[in-house]
């Protein structure tokens, strides 16, 4: 039977719910609808979703992350997290990379909240700070000498405050078309 013809059934709700968690909210409606329209069996649905979702996530990252700014932000974060440390590598690089990655995925999966951009920005920064602290806890279990110094923690907090203010300048979170 050709896909999408004849008797149509919907994908199991549980599978659809799990797939939906991985699809960025901005495109979830049409993506889950298209996948449902092509549904023939649970196996085919999972295979289609596994081939489709990664490309969608990468596309959303491309649309929401302004990569030309990354080197400057990365250097700033590394300098901030490395404050007070004689050997800043990898002490300052780990939290800097984690910060950039969390912001990248957060932007790809966030729904712009134009009514409450400050609150949304604070949540973003809080998630990043929480992830950095969790990663520091994990790093501390393996290599104590890689932990951020207290000056580095203060520097990192200041850097996140600056990033919060920068992000308020673009509440939609979309990379401008000309960029």
């Amino acid at each position: 039977m050709e896909r999408g013809s004849g008797m149509r059934s919907n994908p199991p709700a549980v599978i659809e719910l799990i797939v939906g968690l991985f699809v960025p909210p901005l495109v979830r409606e049409q993506v889950l609808g298209d996948l449902a329209e092509q549904y023939t069996s649970p196996g085919q649905y999972v295979l289609d979703a596994s081939r489709t979702v990664p490309a969608i996530v990468v596309s959303q990252i491309r649309r929401t992350s302004y990569f030309p700014l990354w080197p400057a932000i990365g250097l700033g974060l590394t300098a901030a997290f490395g404050l007070g440390a004689e050997a800043w590598w990898p002490r300052a690089v780990i939290p800097s990379v984690i910060t950039l990655l969390v912001f990248m995925f957060r932007d790809a999966y966030r729904v712009p909240d134009l009514q409450h951009p400050r609150r949304k920005g604070l949540i973003d920064v809080a998630i990043v700070a929480g992830t950095v602290l969790a990663s520091e806890a994990a790093v501390g279990l393996c290599r104590q000498e890689w932990l951020i110094t207290s000056e580095g923690l203060r520097g990192g907090a200041l850097a996140l405050a600056v990033l919060y203010l920068l992000r308020l300048q673009n509440p939609t979170g979309r990379v401008p078309r000309s960029a």
Partner: protein, 118 residues
């Protein structure tokens, strides 16, 4: 030279498909038509979405959500259509393809339409 630069071959295929489908161009129909045009190569739905996003960011196409439909579990379709800039970009791209074909026809003769050169 247009501001958005030259179209890639896959972008050309997707734009052609949107023109061909007219009012019925949305994810599933575009994917089916692109897959058909790209044979023997298989194209994933994700690759089509990524290209649609890129074309929209370039200002070549516009999209909008339809009303929810029952066969999609009550979800909407996102329909696409070409913007005037997309029409121009596709036209320029097709003209270039035609010039390439004409050159190759001169070099290879009619074999270009019969399996290509040996």
């Amino acid at each position: 030279m247009p501001k958005h630069g030259a179209l890639g071959q896959f972008e050309q295929v997707v734009l052609t498909t949107i023109v061909d489908l007219a009012d019925t161009a949305y994810g599933v129909t575009i994917h089916r038509a692109v897959d058909e045009l790209s044979k023997p190569r298989s194209v994933s739905l994700g690759a089509v979405y990524a290209t649609l996003d890129r074309l929209e960011d370039k200002g070549l196409i516009t999209s909008w959500l339809s009303d929810p439909t029952p066969e999609r579990g009550g979800r909407s379709r996102r329909y696409y259509r070409l913007d005037p800039a997309g029409m121009r970009a596709l036209y320029e791209s097709v003209r270039m393809s035609k010039r390439i074909c004409e050159r190759l026809e001169l070099a290879w003769g009619s074999t270009i339409w019969n399996g290509g050169p040996a």
